[in-house]
């Protein structure tokens, strides 16, 4: 593929993306339509978050997209007071891990989540989030 036809959709992921292209670029289209998706291996049935194009278990590349729905349990989180280069404008923010059982999701807590209400093990949901710079990511919210 020539450079000008390169599919660089993944460059839109997160405050700063370090990856421009991947065989799961469709993840970005799903984010744009308001959905956080994982991949499911059509051959062996394994579920993957983050989404993978290839299954290391059965070597199949026959994947289907499925939506991350329902709640996951908060495994842990941390609020950063310092940020790496390019992320200063986001401070303070919290990174976190949610356990959905068949897979886990790594992301951020929503900017409006009150840390005083956050407890390890609590149910949270994963939702698409548009960043001030126009980039897209996803964040965790306390389940209703």
């Amino acid at each position: 593929m020539s450079k000008k036809n390169e599919d660089v959709r993944f460059g839109k992921f997160g405050t700063v993306s370090f990856t421009r292209t991947t065989r799961v670029n469709d993840f970005i289209d799903h984010l744009e339509s308001g959905k956080v998706m994982y991949t499911h291996c059509n051959t062996c049935g394994a579920d993957f978050f983050p989404p993978r194009a290839d299954c290391a278990g059965c070597l199949s590349s026959d994947m289907q997209w499925r939506e991350v729905t329902g709640t996951g349990k908060l495994v842990s989180y941390s609020q950063l007071e310092f940020a790496p280069v390019g992320f200063d404008a986001d401070l303070p923010y919290s990174i976190a891990l949610l356990d959905y059982g068949d897979f886990q999701v790594f992301g951020r807590l929503g900017g409006d989540v009150d840390l005083a209400e956050v407890m390890i093990g609590m149910p949270m949901t994963t939702v698409v989030n548009e960043l001030p710079n126009g980039q897209l990511n996803f964040v965790f919210k306390i389940a209703e």
């Binding site: 992921f13 405050t15 370090f18 941390s78 310092f82 790496p84 886990q104 992301g107 390890i120």
Partner: protein, 389 residues
């Protein structure tokens, strides 16, 4: 398997900014190690360089450093496992010598982190995680270890004071270590004094005092076959066990955050190979890049039961006079953490301890020592067991 020994050790004084180039830095540890071994560079038949290369402006640094140290035409190459690069280098050197392919191998760990700014350095360390799926969220090493700290506190009731106690112990010995970057005393109340720098938040629950400092430094280990070791050295220290394991980079692949599985697996391998257990270890160096990391290490290595690390640090059993002295050279928290040099520096400390040459930091008559060195946030686990016999 053939026996393999360490016959020479060296390291530079770890500093915030080394006033010289990378190759000149490497010379400092190398000279000390070959002098210690009583050999010349010409007797070294292979060299392994260990660092995290994104800090280096030089492409393929092993080549220029080998040239500067006079190690041509012996083969030289580069290995990298982030913060455990020189433990990986030692395992490779062990394998190279145990196989009979080489007789004397130099393992040179080095890092000149000051070539880039602290913020750039943090950004690079963040990219030691999954750059496709984690780094776009703005991750940094302290934040990942902070997540482990929070999980450990939640599961086992570990407290902020338990974390601070690790730093207080490190500073106790860092003051005695002329090679350490941080040599001031640290007291528990500094962590609760909002005016004190130690209490400043970094990534909750970790504070400035919970984190080790970047540093420039180098370490060098001379690894030799049994035949060469017996001919050349009056005090060889034997490599009894080398364990190594890997884990998923992305935290989504971890089954727990209150421990590091790769470290537990590496420990099991090293203990089995050496034919010893946790109770046989007389002195240990563990990877305390953050205070929580030392507590995780106590449990991974079997020095404490799961959840028992807080009692171990509070009982002072990991002080020099305790039942299992840990990091009595000040650890990474006091020495500083020049990524690629750290593992070799830990091994140097244990070699000096086993020889009875650790000065004010000397533990009473140790025979078996252990080194625990982690790359990334539990991505690479390495445990090495050394002994006098």
């Amino acid at each position: 398997m053939k026996k393999v020994a360490i016959i020479g050790v060296g390291q530079s004084t770890f500093v915030r900014a080394y006033p010289g180039s990378l190759r000149e830095l490497a010379f400092e540890g190398f000279k000390e190690a070959i002098t210690d071994a009583g050999i010349t560079g010409k007797q070294i038949d292979a060299s392994v360089f260990c660092s995290a290369p994104e800090y280096d402006k030089q492409r393929s640094p092993s080549a220029v450093v080998a040239e500067y140290l006079g190690l041509n035409p012996a083969p030289t190459f580069y290995v990298e496992t982030l913060c455990s690069s020189s433990s990986t280098g030692l395992k490779l050197a062990y394998s190279m010598v145990a196989s009979g392919v080489h007789d004397i191998v130099a393992v040179i760990g080095l890092q000149k982190m000051s070539e880039i700014s602290s913020a750039e350095s943090q950004e690079r360390m963040g990219r030691g995680a999954d750059i496709q799926w984690e780094s776009p969220f703005g991750t940094m090493m302290p934040a990942y270890y902070a997540m482990h700290a929070k999980a450990h506190m939640d599961k086992y009731g570990t407290t902020l004071e338990d974390l601070a106690a690790v730093r207080v112990k490190a500073a106790t010995y860092g003051q005695m270590n002329e090679r350490a970057v941080y040599r001031k005393p640290v007291a528990l109340d500094m962590f609760t004094d909002p005016e004190n720098r130690m209490s400043g938040p970094v990534s909750s629950p970790l504070r400035v005092g919970d984190c080790c400092a970047n540093a420039d430094g180098t370490s060098c280990l001379i690894v030799a076959s049994e035949e060469k070791a017996r001919a050349l050295s009056k005090k060889p220290v034997w490599i009894l066990g080398v364990g190594a394991a890997s884990a998923s980079v992305n935290l989504t692949g971890r089954d727990r955050l209150y421990g590091l599985k790769a470290a537990e697996q590496a420990a099991r391998q090293a203990y089995a190979m050496a034919g010893v257990g946790p109770k046989d270890i007389d002195v240990a160096e563990v990877h305390d890049c953050f205070t929580i990391a030392e507590l995780l290490a106590y449990e991974a290595l079997g020095f404490a039961e799961p959840g028992g690390a807080k009692e171990l640090i509070q009982s002072k059993e990991t002080y020099k006079e305790g039942s299992i002295p840990v990091n009595v050279d000040g650890g990474l928290l006091s020495k500083g953490h020049p990524i690629g040099a750290t593992g070799g520096s830990q091994v140097r400390t244990i070699v000096l301890q086993l020889r009875g040459e650790a000065g004010d930091m000397q533990v009473k008559d140790p025979q078996i020592g252990l080194v625990h060195n982690i790359g990334g946030v539990g991505i690479y686990g390495n445990v090495t067991i050394l002994g006098n016999l």
